[in-house]
């Protein structure tokens, strides 16, 4: 087996173990053998030898398991999107939130919390966030693709511009609205996996699988785009089409993820670099590695977020941003 396959397998096993172990951490600690007993019962129908309390069962299986899985999906998705965006924009600092998707989603969430209320039950916040994400993505694409062209510089600038306008709008609504609502929106804007539930997991899982398939199929094209616009054309590609496809995939996946977890920064910026450090920049290799690393990273960061201020739940975006900032300082000093 090649070293690359071994690495993938190793990361996969590590991720599965991490998911299982992390279930024990949180405001109420659950010992590992209990966690395993609960998992065995739900996944394989093994009746545990010692009785497990109903409370522990519902904490581990109903609350934490979907949360850990959502964390893994969000981490994988953001890292994947970051890797692809850095290639098509040829900008090592590109990240999923740069396209204005996150601030659009935040605006949608603010409108729901302040004005609409729970119009669709549990789904209302994610739905509104997704609508906001989609709207701002279309706006960014429309602004950037004037006269039928789609250039990466224009796209990044359009993303930044739309982001600021959306953020201003959300902040204005929050400022005018009641202070109680503001704090509940704030938690969501800082990112958190608290909304996770079994019923909503299929959606990010499906989107992640589709995005991974599309991006892996575009692997060669992403390599070629990294070499420059003219080289890509000379290799038989149509850079604009590839770029448009990547942006649409990236925006949709980010929109779905952000609508469930809020804006979690730095994962999409940082993990692609770590993945490239491990396996180089060849996209058919770096994409799956980045996804696995992102999942692994976010699962453990969420453990930190659950335990540091327990029983308080620390917004996960604060932890990722802190780690990301330190990571970049370290990177700068090493060069």
């Amino acid at each position: 087996m090649s070293r690359f396959r071994l690495l993938l397998l190793g990361l996969g096993v590590l991720l599965a173990l991490s998911c299982a172990i992390s279930l024990g951490f949180g405001a109420a600690q659950v010992p590992l053998e209990r966690v395993l007993a609960i998992l065995g019962q739900h996944l394989f129908g093994i009746v545990p030898e010692a009785a497990v309390s109903l409370g522990q069962d519902s904490i581990v299986w109903q609350l934490r398991a979907p949360r850990v899985l959502l964390g893994a999906l969000v981490g994988a998705g953001l890292a994947l999107v970051g890797t692809a965006l850095q290639a098509v924009t040829r900008n090592p600092l590109a990240d999923p939130h740069l396209l204005g998707v996150s601030s659009g989603a935040a605006f949608g969430a603010v409108v729901v919390v302040l004005y609409l209320g729970e119009f669709a039950g549990l789904l209302s916040l994610p739905l509104a966030a997704f609508a906001g994400a989609l709207a701002s993505m279309l706006l960014v694409l429309a602004i950037a693709s004037r006269s039928g062209r789609l250039e990466s510089d224009r796209l990044l600038l359009a993303g930044v511009a739309v982001s600021f306008v959306m953020m201003a709008a959300s902040n204005l609504l929050l400022y005018l609205g009641n202070p109680h609502a503001a704090s509940s929106v704030l938690f969501w804007m800082l990112g958190g996996l608290g909304l996770a539930c079994w019923e909503l997991l299929w959606l990010p899982a499906l989107c992640l699988a589709l995005a991974l398939a599309v991006l892996l199929g575009l692997g060669r094209a992403l390599n070629a785009l990294m070499a420059g616009e003219q080289s890509a054309v000379s290799l038989g590609l149509e850079p604009r089409r590839v770029r448009l496809l990547v942006f649409v995939v990236a925006s949709l996946l980010t929109g779905v993820l952000v609508s469930l977890s809020g804006a979690i920064g730095f994962v999409g910026l940082m993990l692609p670099h770590v993945a490239r450090f491990l396996v180089g920049a060849e996209h058919r290799r770096v994409l799956p590695v980045a996804a696995l690393l992102g999942a692994l990273f976010l699962v453990w960061v969420d453990v930190a977020a659950r335990t540091w201020l327990a029983p308080q739940d620390l917004p996960i975006g604060i932890v990722t941003a802190a780690i990301g900032g330190v990571f970049f300082v370290a990177l700068l000093r090493r060069r």
Binding site: Q86, A87, R90, P92, L216, G217, L218, R220, A221, N223, A224, M226, A227, G228, E229, Q230, S231, V233, S234, L235, G236, L237, E238, R276, F277, G280, A281, E282
Partner: protein, 255 residues
Amino acid sequence: MPRLRIRELAWSPDGQRPLLDGIDLEVGDGELLGLIGPNGSGKTSLLRCAYRFQRPSAGSVELDGEALWQCSPRWSAQRMAVVLQEFPQDFGLRVEEVAAMGRTPHKGLFDGDDAEDRRLVDEALARVGLGGLAQQPFARLSGGEKQRALLARALVQQPQLLILDEPTNHLDPRYQLELLRQIKALGLATLASFHDLNLAAAFCDRLCVLDQGRLVAAGTPAEVLSAELLQQVFGVQALVDTHPLAGYPRITWIV
């Protein structure tokens, strides 16, 4: 039939004042055609029209007798490879991976790399003398090695026509000569722009001279390179005689 035929080509960036006008040229099999002209004369624009990056505003570009713009970019990339002054950004691609990009137009969406692909990459790298550096990061190569790695990528593309934009820029004399010898030895139909007129005279079978977007002379180096033409196009005085060892024209600038 010529590999590449350009007829009555015109191109303008804004649809008004043409930067290229009335260009006619042909490149046949095994022929190295050099494109020379002062800065801003339109060499790079003409090459861009030839490799399908810029659509000409008038006239036609034909590759193997087919109108280039009627065919897909993939089709043309299967027949024509390009070496540019554009290096991949430092995302950490290895030399081997840069060369393997040349397989892009021959592969479908989910095709992996097979033994044939790896053989082509190894052969191309060996051919340009980079066999030993295949696993090195591309960014760590010297300028000459980078240019050779990009030539290897072009070879991996298995083209019938090669287009080169000032391939010897920024290279030391030794690497300039080495690279051009390698290109010449390929025996492919080749269209290349040159900055250094003596190199162009030494290696090209024919030369085309561009001045302000128009073709002002074409022919063998001996026919084209005259003191009058150099004065008229480049605005400098030069002494043109014959290279004492090889027989092609030699240009000595009078300063």
